[in-house]
């Protein structure tokens, strides 16, 4: 059972570069989420999606973009990477609204901006 798969696991970027973090789930979940975790902190929501073609901002969306063309995939795009975006990024999914079952998390992508 793959669950939620994130790629890459690690990446180093230079300031101003761009990249896409990939997230895929094979549980036919409608809801998908991107969180970031800064050192010593809990996770904060960047963007979420309630289904294909529908996305919305979370707590900390600045500097990021998302798209949801299929139920399975929810990529996160960084344009013009900045040192403040150095963090660990987690993708998650859930079957229905978050209040109706657990969220399942991927293993994370550790991103450093130098």
């Amino acid at each position: 059972n793959a669950g939620v798969t994130q790629t890459p696991k690690f990446r180093i970027l230079k300031i101003g570069q761009s990249m896409t973090l990939q997230c895929a789930q094979d549980m036919n979940h409608n809801y998908m989420y991107w969180y970031r975790q800064d050192p010593g902190m809990g996770l904060k929501l960047i963007y979420y999606s309630v289904g294909a073609g529908i996305t919305d901002k979370g707590e900390v969306p600045n500097g990021y973009n998302v798209s949801r063309s299929t139920t399975e995939d929810f990529p996160l795009r960084l344009e013009l990477a900045a040192p403040s975006q150095t963090s660990v990024y987690f993708c998650a999914s859930s079957y229905r609204a978050s209040g109706d079952g657990p969220q399942h998390f991927g293993d994370g992508t550790r991103l450093s901006i130098l």
Partner: protein
């Protein structure tokens, strides 16, 4: 958003000891989850427990939603229990989990 406070922030235990971790939250919730983040950074789902009590092996959790707190019990702790334990909650009408800052548990042999 909902405020989530976890205590204690750090805990050191001798292997075999028991412990209780607490999570207080500032508003009513539809969803509460406990996670274990292992030393490799992976988030492991422990419990989905918006109310009531659940047990899974040496771990159990209780949420008293009316009093806005949840407890995670770890019995007969093992070194593999080390890591950070997070509580995360979601309020009515919301879409994202709000995380506490975690309890860092170290179990020494």
């Amino acid at each position: 958003g909902i405020q989530v406070e976890q205590s204690p922030p750090d805990l050191i235990l001798q292997e075999g000891a028991n412990s209780t971790l607490r999570c207080n939250f500032s508003d009513s919730v539809n969803n509460l989850q406990w996670f274990h983040q292992n030393p490799w950074g992976q988030l492991i789902n422990l419990f989905y427990i918006p109310s009531g009590t659940k047990q899974n092996g040496r771990l159990s959790a209780t949420t008293v939603a009316t009093e806005r707190y949840s407890l995670l019990y770890i019995s007969s702790s093992q070194t593999t229990d080390s890591g950070v334990y997070f509580c995360a909650v979601l309020g009515p009408g919301a879409n994202n989990l709000f995380f506490g800052t975690g309890t860092r548990l170290t179990v020494i042999p």
